[in-house]
Every structure is written in structure tokens, then in C-alpha cells.
């Protein structure tokens, strides 16, 4: 009897075979579930100290709240205020102008440095690379303090201008109504160029040398080779440099806080500075949050734009 039951049910046997298949998958599934134990610490930190506050800021942006009294619902009022208040939208315009100095010029400078450091250039390359990247590792607060002093009436910058016979235009640059923002922007150029250079150099190293040989055979000079081989070869890196430096320009706080604190006469205020001031000095949490959300939307908008432009040109 036992024999018969063992031999006859062939279909069941087959279904058991399928069962074996799922059985083989089950340890994998259990492993994929157990993987969450490894994922959990990171997810908990990220969710509770980044995602949750971010969502909360979004909620706060619809409130009128001074941080102490019970809040009242403001709807879109805080956002309307950003569009209408000149101080608020000017800060956004200032941040947009800073993109030129934090992002556009450094990308150009980075390309120039890459052109200079490439090819037969061997001796001293490591030294130049190390020094030119140095500004990028320093705390921006310290960079700001240093440049405050350089831009001072008796600072290095004016001393240099006098040396080359331009003594007539010396001034306290960060206090100049028209030029303070540009002076501030130039500090960004100083900080960001090294980062761009480093990215482009690492990209340029991956370009196939055969491309340069072919270009040489076609009679392309150094400049032409750079334009037709190197620049297209580091397109990916240019996109990334553009993204990183644009975020730095839009979200800049440290530099502005220590150099001008928004002055003179609000000529150098940026959204980040107003977020800080509104929330922690003036107790206008709702507007501060709405401005933080606006700033984030700008960052995401620009990152998307740069990515899309890069893809279209590719």
C-alpha cells in the first residue's frame, strides 16, 4: 500500500517540484526581508532627522506662527508675501546672480585649469592641483573672515590695486552699494574653481588617447583638440560641477553671514540668510518656512534644468 501511494501520484510529485522552486526562493526572500535590519539604522536617522523636518517645514509654511503663541492657518499667504515683498524677492534675485559667480565662471575657470594641466604637463602638476583645490576644503566661515579682511580698505586687494596704478578705485568693497554682491560672488569663484578643475581633470583622464592622436593626424592644434575632444569628453563632469555649484550658490549662507550679513542696505541678502533671520531673530516661522520651501523648489528646478540641458546636448 505504501508503495502504491509513493509511485502513483505523479502530478503531485510535479507540484512538489514547483514547491521546491519556491522553497529555493524562500531563503532569498527571507534574506531580502532580513536586509531591512541592515537598512533600518540609516532609514531611521534619515526619516526622523531629515525627511520628517522637511515635511514639517512644508506644513509650517502654511501657518502664521511666531514660535510661541498658538499658530493660525495662513493658507498661501506666506507665499504671496514672498512674491510681493521686495526684500524677499530681491534676495531670490541676488541668489540667481550669485549662480554666475559660483557656477558659471568656476566652470569656465575649471576648464581653463584643466587645459593647462593636461597633456605633456607633468612636473608640478600634483602641486598645482593640490593648491588650487585647497579653498574647497576650508570652512566657508573662515574663507569669509579672510576675504573680509582682504577686501578691507587697507587690505591686500586695495594694496594690489595701488601697486598696479589703480589706487583711484580702491574702496571697502563689501561696503560698496553697487559692487558688494559682485565682490561676494568673486569669493564664490575663488572657492568653487578648484572643485570644477578636479572634476574635469578626473573626467579628462578617462578620455581615450586615440581620440587625441586622431585629432593630431587631422591637424588639430592644442586649442582645437581641447575644444573638440576634451570638452565633449568631460560633458558629464560639467553637468555635475554645474549642479553642485548651483546648489552652493542658491543655498549660500555661511559666506554671506560672516562677510556682509546682507548689507549694505540689503544689497547682498540671499534667501538662506532671510530664512535664518525670519525664523530665529524675528519669529516669523511661517514666512521663513515658505521661503525655505521656495529655495528648495528653486534648487530642484535648476538641477532638473541643468540635467535636461546636458541630456539634450549629449
Amino acid at each position: 500500500m505504501a508503495d502504491i501511494t509513493q509511485v502513483s501520484p505523479a502530478p503531485r510529485e510535479r507540484s512538489r517540484g514547483a514547491g521546491l522552486g519556491t522553497g529555493r526562493r524562500r531563503p532569498l526572500n527571507r534574506r531580502a526581508a532580513k536586509a531591512w535590519l541592515y537598512l533600518l539604522p540609516a532609514v531611521i536617522f534619515y526619516a526622523s532627522f531629515a525627511i520628517w523636518p522637511a515635511l514639517n517645514t512644508f506644513y509650517l509654511s502654511f501657518l502664521n506662527w511666531d514660535g510661541v503663541q498658538p499658530p493660525s492657518w495662513a493658507g498661501l499667504g506666506n507665499y504671496v508675501q514672498i512674491v510681493q515683498d521686495p526684500a524677499l524677492y530681491n534676495s531670490v534675485l541676488n541668489a540667481l546672480l550669485l549662480i554666475v559667480f559660483f557656477s558659471f565662471i568656476p566652470v569656465c575657470m575649471g576648464l581653463l585649469m584643466t587645459a593647462l594641466l593636461m597633456g605633456r604637463m607633468r612636473r608640478g602638476m600634483a602641486f598645482f592641483r593640490t593648491v588650487l583645490f585647497l579653498p574647497q576644503v576650508l570652512p566657508l566661515v573662515a574663507v569669509g573672515v579672510t576675504w573680509r579682511w582682504l577686501y578691507n580698505e587697507t587690505g591686500l586687494f586695495n594694496q594690489f590695486l595701488e601697486l598696479i596704478g589703480l589706487g583711484g578705485i580702491t574702496r571697502a568693497w563689501l561696503g560698496d552699494y553697487d559692487l558688494a554682491l559682485i565682490a561676494l560672488g568673486f569669493i564664490g569663484t575663488w572657492t568653487m574653481s578648484g572643485l570644477c578643475m578636479l572634476l574635469f581633470l578626473s573626467g579628462a583622464q578617462k578620455i581615450d588617447p586615440a581620440l587625441y592622436e586622431a585629432a593630431t593626424l587631422d591637424g588639430a592644434g592644442a586649442f582645437r583638440q581641447f575644444r573638440s575632444v576634451t570638452v565633449p569628453g568631460v560633458r558629464r563632469e560639467i553637468t555635475i560641477a554645474g549642479v553642485i555649484t548651483t546648489i552652493a550658490a542658491l543655498a549660500s549662507f555661511d559666506l554671506v553671514f560672516v562677510t556682509t550679513n546682507g548689507g549694505p542696505a540689503d544689497q547682498t541678502t540671499v534667501p538662506a540668510l532671510l530664512v535664518y533671520r525670519l525664523a530665529f531673530n524675528e519669529g516669523d516661522i511661517g514666512t521663513a518656512s515658505a521661503l525655505a520651501i521656495t529655495l528648495t523648489a528653486l534648487v530642484i528646478g535648476f538641477v532638473t534644468l541643468i540635467r535636461r540641458l546636458a541630456r539634450e546636448n549629449a
Partner: protein, 274 residues
């Protein structure tokens, strides 16, 4: 041939000018720091007497004993926490293929673009509700959350770049998840981990906004946090301010010189993969 030499000299000339533009500001503040405290300094000028005591003065006036302690407490906790969490999460996403791992990975990557300003307001109120403002833990947890997107991404791409046979071989030898990680993968992952640690240390040391918001108590701020307010109080005392600046940047410059390779590979690969 002559044009080549001329071209090469031009290159060196332009590069030297650029290098000077980076180094002169440093030279300028070092010289300024050595003038008599409170004296007016103009541009680059050698001091008549070298006032090394300015560093001690700035250290005391700026309260750097407390600031440095805070800086090291915070970085000292943030770096291992980020490295640990990022390694475990990267392993779960790249090798163990956690359920929903793709989506989790994307949510982490999105965090790379979010500015600190987005979280800082609500974070302040959330943390003060649970008594974590003016508390090292608050800043530490916030920084961990802030740097984890890069960390997870970095470790995930590192683990995915390793040959799959390694893990297979480990499994065949009967290793469980944890021992595959510790015995097989970690020993060959130290370069990636060191680079992550160095970058996180830099970001943690340089972080300003989070620190000044979450630490209203000046005693508990970090070196850059303290310097930011030292400027306000001593804005006219250039020698002292310069000395304080040098004290603030010294540790990070030291780390940069020692771990130069890691900075370079981390920032280029990490950014490019992103």
C-alpha cells in the same frame, strides 16, 4: 619646438598666477595674525615684532578650548555613525537586495540636492520639543541624517562595483549575511570607507548653519560656529581675528594634507557617480 617651449612657459606662468591667487590670502592672514593685537594692519606687511602670543590670545578670547572640544565631540560621533549606517545600508541595497531597495535608494539620492535650510526650522522646533537643542545629540543626529544620502550612495556603489563571485564564494562556505559583510567585503573596502570618513569629517567640521541654530549656547558651538560670532565682537581687531581663523582651519588643512588622495578620489568619483 620653440613654440612648444613658449607654450609650456605660458602654462606655468598662468598656473603660477592662479596658485598665487589661492595662496596670497593665506599669506596675508598669517602675516596679519602676527602683528600686535589690536594694531591696524595694512595689506601684506611683515610685522616689526612677531606676536606669536596672538594665537594664545585668540584661543582664550574666542573660547577655543570649549569650541574645539565640541567640534571633536560632534565630528567624533558623526563620522563613525555615518560610516556604520551607510555601510550597513549600502550592503543591504547592493548585495542583499532589500525589498523596495530601489525606491529607498532613490529617496536617499534625492536627499543629495536638499539644502539644509529646508530642514533647519522644523528641526529646531522638533528637537526642542524633546530637549535635544543645546545638546550634542541633536546636532550629531541632524548631521548624520544630512550626510547619509551621500554615504549610503557611496557605499552602495562601492559594494555594487565588487565582483559578485566574492559574495557567492562566501555563501558557499556557509557564511551568513553578517559574516559575508565583515569577513569578505569589509577587508577589501577600507579605501572606500576611509574616503567616506574623511569627507564626512570635513563636512561635519565645516557645518555652520545647523550648529548655530541648534546650539544657542555659545559654549557648545563648534570652531567655525564660534568664529562666525567672534567676527562680530572683534571685527576691528584684525590680528586676533586672523589668528582665530588660522586656529579654525588648521585641523581641516592638516587632514587635507594627510588624506589628499582620499579627498580627490572621493569628491570626483562620488560626485560623478551621482
Amino acid at each position: 619646438m620653440r613654440t612648444q617651449t613658449a607654450g609650456m612657459s605660458m602654462r606655468y606662468l598662468v598656473l603660477t598666477v592662479m596658485t598665487l591667487m589661492v595662496l596670497l590670502p593665506f599669506a596675508s592672514i598669517v602675516l596679519a595674525a602676527l602683528h600686535a593685537s589690536g594694531s591696524t594692519v595694512s595689506g601684506m606687511r611683515l610685522p616689526e615684532n612677531w606676536h606669536w602670543e596672538n594665537f594664545a590670545l585668540a584661543w582664550n578670547e574666542g573660547g577655543y578650548s570649549a569650541l574645539m572640544r565640541s567640534s571633536f565631540i560632534i565630528s567624533g560621533a558623526v563620522v563613525p555613525l555615518v560610516v556604520l549606517c551607510a555601510t550597513l545600508a549600502g550592503y543591504a541595497l547592493a548585495i542583499l537586495k532589500a525589498w523596495g531597495g530601489r525606491q529607498v535608494g532613490i529617496i536617499f539620492v534625492l536627499g543629495l540636492t536638499l539644502p539644509v535650510e529646508l530642514i533647519v526650522i522644523a528641526l529646531y522646533y522638533n528637537l526642542s520639543n524633546v530637549g535635544l537643542t543645546n545638546n550634542y545629540l541633536g546636532v550629531i543626529f541632524a548631521e548624520v541624517a544630512l550626510f547619509l544620502p551621500f554615504g549610503v550612495y557611496w557605499m552602495q556603489s562601492h559594494f555594487s562595483s565588487l565582483p559578485g563571485e566574492l559574495v557567492e564564494a562566501g555563501r558557499i562556505d556557509g557564511a551568513r549575511d553578517l559574516s559575508v559583510l565583515t569577513r569578505v567585503l569589509l577587508p577589501i573596502s577600507w579605501p572606500a570607507i576611509t574616503t567616506l570618513a574623511v569627507l564626512v569629517f570635513m563636512w561635519s567640521w565645516n557645518q555652520f548653519l545647523l550648529v548655530i541654530v541648534l546650539m544657542q549656547d555659545p559654549e557648545m558651538r563648534t570652531a567655525p560656529g564660534g568664529l562666525g560670532f567672534f567676527v562680530g565682537q572683534y571685527s576691528t581687531n584684525i590680528p586676533l581675528l586672523s589668528a582665530a581663523t588660522i586656529i579654525t582651519i588648521a585641523p581641516i588643512v592638516l587632514v587635507y594634507i594627510i588624506f589628499q588622495r582620499n579627498f580627490v578620489s572621493g569628491l570626483t568619483q562620488g560626485a560623478v557617480k551621482g
